[in-house]
Symmetry: C2
Subunit: 710 residues, 2 copies
């Protein structure tokens, strides 16, 4: 009896320890970005060369290099006390802040920009902005804040508020991002180095027709017009204004015609006298780096140009040397990979700094004398990111991060130390302090593995050959829980396939969407391959899809299918596919061009016909419908709807301003015309992605569709 | 061997005869209104008291009463020859025509109104109208055509074209139907008896906000605004103009305020001096029959009024006596049933002509001396229609049609003979000539039973008691093909449930939708019950639903479920429901209020919240949301979405201007908020009903939903 009890106790202990549960859909969907997201210190920043800070539990902590103890700098309550002294309202969470200098930080709090002295914990200054202000851009050099109210631009600083623009026409928009955030553009204001001038985008959309969206949640449905120029149509026109805060005058740079060109990657010269714009023609195959005089607006010169018979896509502003204001660093893919070049402002190439069959993914900076450059790159592997130092003269390159995985680093001001934030397949997150001098490493923080209680399918990464028989493609496969190689399992392919995205990475869980674990727990193999066209694999890998979207990607995806079909444990009659946006387009490609293979598909927010997609992205990859009619025809899913055989569901956000719902509507109409059954669902209040709690509903909808039909 | 051969031959003969096939979905959906619709002679009309005509195979034939032989009057080719003589283009099918007198007919042909003499087969006159003319109204008395171009009214006649209205504001609309075709209104122009004057509706919608629909089939989606005043909101304003064709002047009747009242059921006095309008207040509970002077526009008097604490719904214009111009006939439901009353124009009641617990469904006319009135009514049974004659003085009523079924009759000019077009459960269509004098009947035509080759489930009609335990409700049930009472069958309830519709009738196949036969062939019992609120059962039966739509109807529908559950062969765990429009609303009511009963539902074009439905219909049955907040709350399906348990699909026409898609959109949003799975489909180019070939796609979609889930 005693023995039995002991056994019973042992049984409970053992099962208690190993009682892993499959992941619920809620955990998979909502957990990954909230309660199951591994906790890491926030706002890790260098304060000076010997100290770095981080926020933990609403307290700003500081650590000295070489020492392991953390010191409190200021807590949220102390910060609120400082606000109160100045009559400012309290805030609820520790604000996102930036250092102005080691003593001062600035942050936003209740419609104020606040400058705080960390040493005496006192508010030095606060600048108010209106509640409906958007596009805030704070210049620490002159403590002046730029912001927009509706379509006009304002600045607020020591001399009060100045209205920079006063356009009555609501479709002339100042100070916001333009060109739909393509070409690396994510803002619309650019302070000059000393803060005396403010460059800003002015976008004229009056020549673009209104595109109707409808808010169905109103008491009576309400029209919400947007501007959505489609490929080949009249597009908006952008100029760059330069506002002089002293004279209160604006001049516009004489960027010339045709007016629907792209003004990308704005950089100020260090002396504030000129602005450099990477100007791209609408055809996107000819870029000029133009220098403009900010007093006259005149073109000073074209510093350099870049051409490509497919497309040029400038995404990095030039970076001026700090030791020689006549010199700048320029990133280009012109040799097939994104690399860094050293130029003088006469446009003469001094040197190609990095070189090789890999891509610089971030130019982090230089040492004081600019003898060495620090950068992040795919040099080790396309699915890893490491931090490197290259000597500008010798070309000698050192890899500064060690572990296989994805590293993101910040350098100390003296470039002697690096804080390395990294993850890897089994590392949910780690912070290391790397000393370059001592060649040593100190682990600062290891995130808790929030998934350790879950029973997850086996997750592996490997390569297959692309349809060109030569190129390696990275794949991720998750096997079903309790995998038995003697059984046959259905497969769900998760696909994106378009440019600027890479789904398989050596990050935690190999970048798997946790939904894939959920479906694996339901007995499905989850498979993903990054086909040609996807990110970080060089120019040729990406632009293989040019003018024929869907063709090469589909061929490569089918190589993934060939691989799957070669596996004895794959049920070749039960293969499904799901993707969103470009992945929705790819889902349609696969379902319609390979109806013999795919039994079930769910296409979310899909592009159906590229002529209904917007100008900037659409024309880069497809040219215009007028220039490339055959390409548009071949990539138009309406022309393949007659091949529909399996179960296909389209899902669209009714408010989608990115891939407009007419794409799905026209596909449905075509299916109806052809008497083909197709399924559909909408999220009435969502845009291009279903975010927030509603995402659980979406993933249930998608999961059920596979569970019921595959 | 010989014997075997004989047996074999016999076998083929027997099976050949009985080789009935179940009905395909295509036959059920598209066949019923086209290739499987029983053919009947078209345009059967009396020419004079001894002759009637009909069109068969594009030939106008004439038959003399008492004789059985048909005589050709004119063929399509002869008619085209006559057109050609006058330089008019040929037409492709025999036109819909009307007699002006026994010798002359008029019809429309290629933007012409043509008057043709049947005796000499010559065109007497033709009046041209523009290609974009709408709302044509031809006055045979003066050979003048009224029509609209966009929002303005024109007439064309002997003295050329006159522009009656010239409103530049497009939301002032002249000469069209108003008040969304409620109150029996189906046109917007009213010629005076001698054709000297034209009364017309003028609708001012400028005070009603634009309601946005979107045409997604355009190259870029296009906004299509409609006017859709919702219950409780500002509504349009209607006036009645009177145009004098001689003076070319228009006066507007002084119909007074409030301006959002309803001007219904326009009648001219025989002397053309006044117009009678059944004016209804916006609350729809007080009707005044007002007489206006058409010279001054002044109100002459209120002839009679009708009030009801629920609603008054005038749908029949008054009909003036031909023997005494001071007398008119008036239809009202004021005693609880629609009956005919005789009045003088002082508003004094002379007599109630019909009376009883049944409804007059058509006042067909009188004999020359107006001693007898002819009418169609539900006197025999609510699900039959017979033709009757009542003596105005004695009240003696004779039923003139014999067979149980649905009769629709036209009287000869001398009222001595009747052509009876009728159907019954097993009669797809029959034309009889009934002689009143001889009390005899001649069968003129018997339609071929187009369904005889089909194996159809048994179709029965019967009654159950309503939820009030007292009222009879008519039900129709179709049993599965090859019904076996020892088995258990799932049920699909097809429901409408709203006013102005009756689904169970003694017509061919008991008015079954053939889709019900299709589902019966798939093993489902098809069931329908006309609950309280539906048509032709008297005022109390209908208005039991007032201010609480969905409550009484649901209770009655559940009595149908109780009946079904009492049947040993019903699988009580597999009950589904489908309906469209009000039936979509009822589907939601049943699914959400009785989740324990209904496993699967398909709600097409459903009303979800009556406050999003239009003014005229909505306020009649629900009052305004301001007046009846609790009623609106209780009938709002958004408030029951949390009860959703079964599989529910909503379907909506994206262009629906009747039940706007926001109804479905808001329901989806609510389900998403509640994390309730629901399905949805849209028909991007369709309005409130999916018509034409696309209907097959719709019915496949609906059928599959039941086949897969029920």
């Amino acid at each position: 009896m005693k023995q039995f009890l002991i056994l019973l106790v042992l049984f409970f202990i053992v099962t208690g320890v190993s009682a892993q549960q499959p992941m619920s859909l809620k955990d998979a969907t909502l957990g990954s970005s909230s309660y199951l997201k591994p906790e890491m210190p926030e706002q890790v920043k260098w304060r000076d060369s010997n100290h770095f800070v981080m926020v933990k539990d609403s307290i700003l902590l500081q650590q000295e290099i070489q020492k392991k103890n953390e010191m409190k700098i200021i807590s949220l309550s102390e910060l609120n006390a400082a606000l109160k002294v100045n009559g400012l309202k309290a805030i609820k969470t520790f604000p996102r802040f930036s250092f102005i200098d080691p003593a001062q930080i600035w942050f936003r709090a209740n419609n104020k920009v606040v400058i705080l002295n960390l040493d005496n914990k006192k508010v030095i200054k606060n600048i108010e902005y209106p509640e409906d202000a958007e596009n805030l851009d704070f210049c620490t050099t002159n403590s002046t804040l730029a912001y927009t109210i509706k379509n006009n631009l304002f600045i607020a600083g020591n001399s009060g508020v100045q209205q920079v623009t006063n356009d009555q026409e609501p479709h002339i928009i100042n100070g916001t991002t333009v060109h739909r955030n393509e070409f690396g553009i994510d803002k619309g204001t650019f302070w000059s180095p000393a803060g005396n001038k403010l460059a800003f985008y002015r976008m004229d959309e009056t020549m673009v027709g209104d595109y109707p969206l409808v808010d169905f949640m109103a008491r009576e449905a309400e029209l919400v017009n947007i501007k959505y120029p489609m490929a080949g149509m009249t597009s908006h026109q952008v100029k760059l204004g330069v506002y002089n805060t002293a004279t209160k005058q604006t001049i516009f740079l004489k960027t010339g015609e045709p007016l629907d060109h792209y003004l990308t990657n704005i950089s100020w010269s260090p002396d504030e006298k000129s602005i450099f714009i990477q100007e791209l023609n609408r055809e996107q195959n000819h870029m000029k780096l133009n220098q403009y005089d900010v007093i006259t607006g005149d073109l000073i010169k074209t510093v350099l140009t870049e051409q490509d018979n497919k497309y040029v896509e400038p995404v990095h502003p030039i970076l001026f040397s700090k030791v020689d204001p006549e010199k700048f660093y320029y990133q280009s893919r012109r040799d097939g990979w994104n690399h860094v070049y050293e130029y003088n402002i006469q446009g003469e190439l001094i040197a190609q700094i990095t070189k090789g069959d890999w891509e610089v993914t971030d130019l982090a900076g230089f040492d004081a004398k600019e003898e060495n450059m620090f950068f992040e790159a795919t040099k080790e592997s396309p699915i890893e990111r490491h931090f490197y130092r290259v000597n500008l003269r010798s070309g000698k390159t050192d890899k500064l991060t060690a572990e296989a995985g994805t590293h993101s680093c910040i350098m100390s001001p003296d470039q002697q130390n690096i804080i390395d934030r990294w993850t890897s397949t089994n590392i949910p997150g780690q912070l290391d302090l790397i000393s370059l001098k001592k060649n040593g490493k100190q682990v600062l923080f290891e995130a808790v593995n929030t998934l350790k209680e879950f029973d997850l399918g086996e997750n592996t990464v490997f390569t297959i050959k692309a349809a060109d028989s030569n190129t390696d493609l990275y794949c991720r496969m998750i096997k079903p829980n309790n995998f038995d190689p003697a059984k046959k399992y259905p497969v769900i392919v998760y696909v994106y396939g378009g440019p600027h995205a890479q789904l398989v990475n050596k990050t935690w869980q190999n970048d798997a969407r946790w939904w894939q674990y959920y479906m694996a727990s339901k007995g499905y193999i989850a498979f993903t391959v990054d086909s040609r066209g996807s990110e970080n694999r060089g120019k040729n890998f990406e632009n293989a899809i040019h003018r024929q979207l869907g063709v090469v990607e589909t061929a490569d995806q089918m190589k993934g299918i060939d691989y799957l079909k070669s596996l004895p444990y794959v049920d070749v009659n039960r293969i499904g596919v799901h993707g969103w946006s470009y992945g929705g387009f790819m889902t349609l490609n696969l379902m319609l061009k390979h109806p013999e293979t795919f039994k079930v598909g769910v296409a979310g927010g899909p592009v159906v016909d590229w002529s209904m997609y917007e100008v900037m992205y659409g024309e880069r990859y497809m040219d215009t419908p007028q220039e490339n009619p055959l390409g548009y025809q071949n990539s138009n899913m309406l022309n393949y709807a007659d091949k529909l055989n399996g179960k296909l569901m389209l899902i669209h956000g009714v408010q989608d301003p990115t891939v407009v719902m007419q794409q799905s509507m026209q596909f449905l109409k075509k299916c109806i015309d052809l008497d083909k059954q197709v399924d559909f669902f909408v999220y009435p209040t969502h845009e291009h992605n279903v975010r927030g709690n509603d995402r659980l509903h979406l993933m249930e909808k998608i999961s059920n569709y596979f569970l019921e039909n595959l």
